[in-house]
Each structure stands twice: as C-alpha cells, then as structure tokens.
Amino acid sequence: MEFKKITSPLTDEKVRNLKAGDNILISGEIYTARDAAHKKLIELLEKGRPWPVNLRGQIIYYVGPTPAKPGQVIGSSGPTTSGRMDPYTPTMLKSGVKAVIGKGSRNQETRKAFQDYKGVYLAATGGAGALLAKTIKEAEVVAYPELGPEAVRRLVVEDFPATVINDIYGNDLYEEGRRRYAREK
C-alpha cells in the first residue's frame, strides 16, 4: 500500500493533490472537535465573536479520546461518526478549515461544501484508537476544558494514517468503493 505524505496546515495547492481513495500519512498540527465543541464554535460565529483558536488552513479531527494513562500522551483516539457534524461542516469550511477527519458518510450538502470551499474529508480507521494514539506525539487542551473528552485539543501527529473520502473534485470513495465491489442483481 502506497501512502502520500502531507503536512499541516493545508493550502489549496496541497488539497488539489488529494484524490478520493488516496491513503495518506499526516504530520503536523491537528485540532480535535466533536459534537459539543462544534456547537460552541458555530454559536461564536453567529454572534460575530472570534474563535478561541485559529483554525484557518487547519485539520479538524472528530475524536473524544479515553483518559490518558500515566506516561501516555493521550488515550485511545479513533474517529467518531462524522454525519453528526454535517449541520456544522459547511460553515466550518467556509470559515477556513481545510480538512476534517472522521468516519462514515456525509450528506449531500456537506459533500458539495468540500468542493465549493476546496476542502477534503478524510477517514481514519474507526475502532483503531490504540493504533492511532501511537501517532500522536503531543496533546494539549486549548479550549472548552469543561467538555472533558469533547474539549478542543491541539495535537501534533506524525504519520497519522487516513484515507481520502471526499476530494475537491466531487468524488466519494464510499460510493465508488461500494459500486466497484458490489455483486447484486
């Protein structure tokens, strides 16, 4: 299996090279946010207030890790189901976020937003939390500590494995993969 290496933050140029079905290894900063943090970030935008962290060009990872054991950087850290973030993602992309990592399919509007705002949707292997945690070298809570596992964390990752699902060209690996391997009348 061949992997494309990418480093964050992302640019239009870097995103252009990513195609649905590509296996990639991410290095650099990524930021965690899931249901509750998204709700808070969107509320700030609606009130015209600034975000507690600058997410322009950044990658958001939908994850709620387990508590770290002594000596661990972070606990198990696999992706959560992305569909729950569909109501927020187009606005996040419009506000400068370049990529999101999760698992599971996105709705039509969100898929179109990846094209419109030149962003990509990446999937990490759901349920591989122990393996993925090994690629996380630094972790610190940077906003909403009261949300516990749902707090916004800044992570530094090295060769974090992911697969491109939705690219800026309108391709969708979930649909294409299913079509390629289906054996139905």
Binding site: A128, G177, R178
Partner: protein, 280 residues
Amino acid sequence: MRELDVKFISEAVVEMCKDSNYILGEDVIRAFQKGLEEEVSPVGKEVFKQLLENARIAREEEVPMCQDTGTAVIFVELGQEVLLVGGDFEEAVNAGVRQGYQEGFLRKSIVRDPLDRKNTGDNTPAIIHVKLVQGDQVRLVMAPKGGGSENMSTLKMLTPAQGVKGLENFVVETVRLAGSNPCPPIVVGIGLGGSFERVAYLAKKALLRPLGSPNPDTFYADLEDKLLEKINNTGIGPQGFGGRFTALAVHIEVFPCHIASLPAAVNINCHASRSVEKVL
C-alpha cells in the same frame, strides 16, 4: 441456598470492564486474519492490517482498543439457589462499572438525561439484564457497546405474510443504510419473534455468540449464511471503503411470537465485538 456477597459481583465487574475493552476475543482476531488473507480490495486489506495491529497494542499495553468504551451492558444469569447478601444487587453492579471505568482509564460516555445531555461522569448506570436460571452460580457477561453501531440498529414489526423474504430485505436494507457509519466489518445480531421489547433483547443477545458458532437449528444456520452472503454482496467493505468483507458474521436468535406478529430487530455491532464472561 448458597450465600454470595454482592461485593464479589462488584469486583468481577471491575475486571470485566477493563478486560473487555483491552482484550479482543480470539474469535474476532481469527475473523480479522481471514479478512486480511481473503479481502480483495487493497484498501480493505489495509484496514484488517490496522485492526490486527490495534488489537495487539491494546492487549499488550492494556489500553482500550477503541476510544468508545461503550455503554456497560451486563447480562446476568442468576442461579435460583443463590442468596445475594451484603447490599443492593444493582448498586453492586454499578459500583463495579464506576470503579472499572475510572481505574481502567476508560471513557465515560453516559449522559444522565437523553435531552439535557449532562455526563454522569462515571459511565453508570449500566444496562443490566437478569435471568433466573437453575443452580447456585452467577454467570456475568459484560459487553460494552459503542454508540456508532448502536445508532444504526433498527426494529421493525413485520407482518407474518412478509415472512423470510421480508426479513431478508429488512436486514440487508438496514446494513445498506448503515453503510460506513457503524465501523464495518460489522457483526449483525438479529432478533426474530417474541414481542416488541423481547425482540430487541434477542438481537443484542445474538451478538454475544462467538463468531463462527452458528444457530443450532440448521434452518436458521443456513439463513445466517445466506444473509452474510447478501450483506457482503453490497460491496460496502471494511470501513465502507469498498470490498468483500462488510460483515464478519450474522447471528439469529429466535423466540415464539403472536399469531398476528413477526417482530424483527437488527442490532449492529462494530468489528470491536467485545465481551467477557465470569462465573461466580
């Protein structure tokens, strides 16, 4: 009567919370190895490779295989010759969950109210199913259940006229709609018959059967094989990336039902098909 102090139940639950989240069963590992050998999609093969490596790290380093350490679902078979002493039984189970999730560095994923969404902070209360059985032992099975796959599960009151065809369509459609969300390759638990509430319980129970152990009734064993083939023909594949392994197994549990009804429930489990057992 045999007296059993409920503190032994608490202690057993503490260990089961940790073990079930750290150690994936040999049956599931074997299913992953088969997937790694036989999956035709390269990206699907890579998923099996990662899942095997993930299970190894979790077991060796005693860390949760998945960050969703689940709702604590506990099945209890209580021998009718056992006299429980030393405190409240349900509180003893919950005390075990509280301590197990804390000590084991497991995620606390339970909210106290479905609408106000405040976390209880200790992963209690557990979902406890008690069945009275003969004998003087207590058998405990702990099966932590992740939210992603639970959310894709469905119950339907089919009509008797819809029969086996109706059941097949319902099951395959449920899997198709779930797609990549429940972390395929999945395990599909099917409840059939009983009543509205019993059928959901049967579907959950079906997930506890070790992979590779078919229903003892050959009709249902054949139906399990047929449904597995149909599900794998959808092409969803590991993680939904496309491939031949959408499900690792299909298990059906059956109970008699009303002349007017054909209750059917599909409980989907992710590939982290976790459960451990202890007999006291």
